[in-house]
Amino acid sequence: MTTLTILAPQCYEDVQAAICEHGRIFVRGASSKPALAPPSVDGDNAALLDMRGLRGVVEYEPGEFVFTARAGSSLREIAALLAEHGQHLPFDPPLVDQGATLGGTIAAGLSGSGRHRYGGLRDFLIGVRFVDGQGRLVRGGGKVVKNAAGFDLPKLMIGSLGRLGVIVEASFKAFPQPPAYATLRVTQPSLDAALTTIARLNGSNFDLEALDLVFEEERPTLYVRQGGFAAALAERQERLRSWLGGGEPLPEPEEAAFWSAGREFTWAPTTWALVKTPVTLSVLPALDQVLQAAGAQRRYVAGAALAWIAWPGDLGHLDAYLIQLQLGGLVLRGEAEWPFVGVRNGASLIARVKRVLDPFHRFPIL
């Protein structure tokens, strides 16, 4: 075992050359998701590609609401650029303050609380360029918001963890950012009551930007976010409040701070493991029982579509629980040799795809 050769590609050709010249390839961005970071040693002829040098926006026409950027660009610089034009990525990609990169966000397949209204990363990524395990520079998708030509290769890159190819460039559609937000905090007597409220909201025609369920000293609490023209917001919030039968509006600085804390996982103890688990309303009672008993902290976001779990103990136990519940997860922080926990479907299809994109096993197994 030797220390990995660290390379910092500056152009797409550098990535192609690095892949062709090395037997094993690992990729890193800002390491904001340490469980997905490469090992420090590996066999001979292994290279670590530090993608942060491959940054910058390639194309951005604000009137078009589409941008193309190199994969090592940080979410922070992208967000700042979009904000200049009143735009944003509404799916609320996490770990912005931790320096997360665009490529890393795609490779990990992460969306945040804001995915509630218009969908997640998969719904906004419209094109990619990546280098596969044979050093081929491949493009999929395009740069327009509607496109049905060819196989949807961008989808393959989502959650591929740099193990099907090295993403070098991505195109996203952006949306107008609501000029103002307002959030209602609604405490709930029990988990069941909270889930019933979420189900009621799901069936209602309130336009909600986000709907998170958190536990404040084990008391289930809903945070319901609305966005739009400031002039209409107070009345909309009041209407929502009366429909819900209560709730307390968050004052301005707290409003932004709450959603930022969610995005950055500042609520999760840093020494604990952090796991993303896709969920549904119906599985939550059973899952929450396990998590509460284990002393885990958790947030159920986007109308209970997604659980963020801060797990205090051995991830093997969580793995076993998730398998029982037929759930799967991705470890973002914590000691894990293999980043997936619980069940995974489509493994045989992934294996077939991997044989095409990585026939020489340069990337880690997926």
Partner: protein, 482 residues
């Protein structure tokens, strides 16, 4: 390929009335809504259960016989054209809605379920299924999944792929796999998304988990008339740039207006060169605020007249004109070609001006009825197939429009798919390497290239093109081409 082996196995397993072999029985399956292509399958299996589909796919694999899965045959790209002497697996009878869960806002359906039936089933719960291709009265979810279908309301909530959460599929070599699930989220890779839009080249979807949306509280529908098509296109760019997010933005040109008026008397201004429909949707209070903003943008775009739908009936009338425009234009001419290219929204005015110029250069009438908000053009090229050379001229004009879309940084197809029709344009949009990788992926999932062979990739022999006039269903006004 051992066709006799396959057919004798199928005959043993399937009742004779569900395995069509006679020439007259096969004729309706020879083409889909792109009638320019025809090809005769050896047999059509009318599958009734998922197990039969799996079995048929496995038998096709064993005997090396190509197959095409087919729903209602409304593909505009020739996507469900049979393979000559192959098997057609007809899925219309697999039409059960297996589960509808309003609390989780999902529906689990079989592939033969009609698009609009999902919304109908969801309506009592205040929910609907968002993608709304104009053929939604008849097209099936299975076909929508295979071709990633769109519709007028993709602007805000996306195309089919954005509404499919999970799939059970039988791959072309008979393996059955479960992809995604019932959650809006997943742990990657996004195999569900990869399967959607694969044009039937990977296998057949047997069960589809769809996301449902709550019906908006209110709509505001604005109808603006312009003195030129380019002005209407520029107005769309202004609305997009203003930061508003309408549910739909549609444009019709003079020819389309005239035809729609003749067909359904939608009350459109007849002297306009172009009409723009913009529809806002959402919570009433927010929509009213957006409406004030929208009217400012529209007033600034130099319209000739602006009208606002007064009530639901008025709104329905505006949409009726729009949705019937296409088949109405189709009636102006026995033969026409429809294109589906996409251009950046900010270049829309420019693209429309180019199409007008090309129309004059070629001496062929072109009508435009399209999804302007996402830059998805649907130029309808009218021609007379009986005049020698006119079909070829129409095709050349269509080709120039597609090349323009690519040159402007767009796409050769927004929602109809590549199918047979746009195969030859794939190399203009993708490099040889891109196409090579796609072909390798196809073979990884279907080593013998049996599933919907001949589609999407620019290879193989295409059947001869003919001008055949409209699909029988289209002539009856049941389906339309966008």
């Amino acid at each position: 390929m051992n066709l006799d082996g396959l057919l004798s196995e199928l005959e043993r397993r399937v009742p004779a009335d569900r395995l069509l072999r006679k020439s007259a029985q096969l004729a309706p399956y020879e083409s889909d809504a792109l009638t320019a292509f025809r090809s005769r399958p050896a047999a059509v299996l009318l599958a009734e259960r998922q197990e039969e589909v799996i079995q048929a796919v496995r038998l096709c694999h064993r005997y090396g016989v190509p197959f095409v899965a087919r729903g209602s045959g409304t593909s505009l790209s020739g996507g469900s054209l049979p393979v000559e002497n192959g098997l057609v697996i007809a899925l219309n009878r697999l039409n059960r809605i297996l589960r509808l869960d309003p609390a989780q806002r999902i529906a689990v359906v079989e592939p033969g379920v009609i698009n609009l039936d999902v919304s109908r089933a969801a309506a009592p719960h205040g929910l609907y299924y968002a993608p709304d291709p104009s053929s939604q009265l008849i097209c099936t979810i299975g076909g929508n999944v295979a071709f990633n279908s769109g519709g007028a309301h993709c602007l805000k909530y996306g195309m089919t792929v954005n509404h499919v959460l999970g799939l059970k599929v039988v791959l072309a070599d008979g393996e059955v796999v479960q992809l995604g699930g019932e959650s809006l989220e997943q742990v990657g890779p996004d195999l569900t998304g990869f399967f959607v839009g694969s044009e039937g080249l990977f296998g057949v979807a047997l069960e589809i988990t769809l996301r449902l949306l709550p019906k908006p509280e209110c709509y505001r529908t604005v109808l603006a008339a312009y003195g030129s098509l380019q002005a209407a296109g520029d107005a769309v760019a202004s609305v997009v740039a203003s930061g508003l997010l309408p549910g739909a933005m549609e444009i019709m040109d003079a020819l389309a207006i005239e035809a729609a008026e003749a067909a359904v008397q939608a009350g459109y201004p007849r002297d306009a060169a172009a009409l723009l429909i913009v529809e806002l949707e959402g919570e009433r209070i927010q929509v009213e605020a957006e409406f004030a903003h929208l009217m400012q943008v529209i007033e600034g775009s130099n319209p000739k007249t602006v009208a606002v739908a007064k009530d639901d009936a008025d709104r329905a009338r505006i949409w009726k004109g729009r949705k019937s425009a296409f088949s109405a234009v189709g009636r102006l001419s026995q033969d026409y070609l429809v294109q589906d290219g996409v251009v950046p929204r900010s270049r829309l005015g420019e693209a429309l001006a180019t199409i007008e110029r090309l129309s004059q250069d070629y001496g062929l009438r072109v009508a435009n009825v399209f999804h302007a908000g996402d830059g998805n053009l649907h130029p309808l090229i009218l021609f007379n197939g009986r005049i020698p050379g006119e079909l070829e001229r129409a095709e050349a004009l269509a080709g120039e429009i597609i090349q323009m879309c690519i040159a402007l940084g767009g796409s050769i197809t927004g929602e109809h798919g590549v199918g047979m029709e746009k195969r030859q344009h794939m190399p203009s949009m993708f490099t040889e390497t891109d196409l090579q990788v796609m072909a390798e992926l196809r073979r990884a999932l279907d080593p013998d290239e049996l599933a919907n062979r001949g589609k999407m990739f620019p290879q193989g022999e295409a059947p001869a093109l003919h001008a055949h006039g409209p699909h029988p269903l289209e002539a009856q006004g049941v389906i339309s081409r966008m």
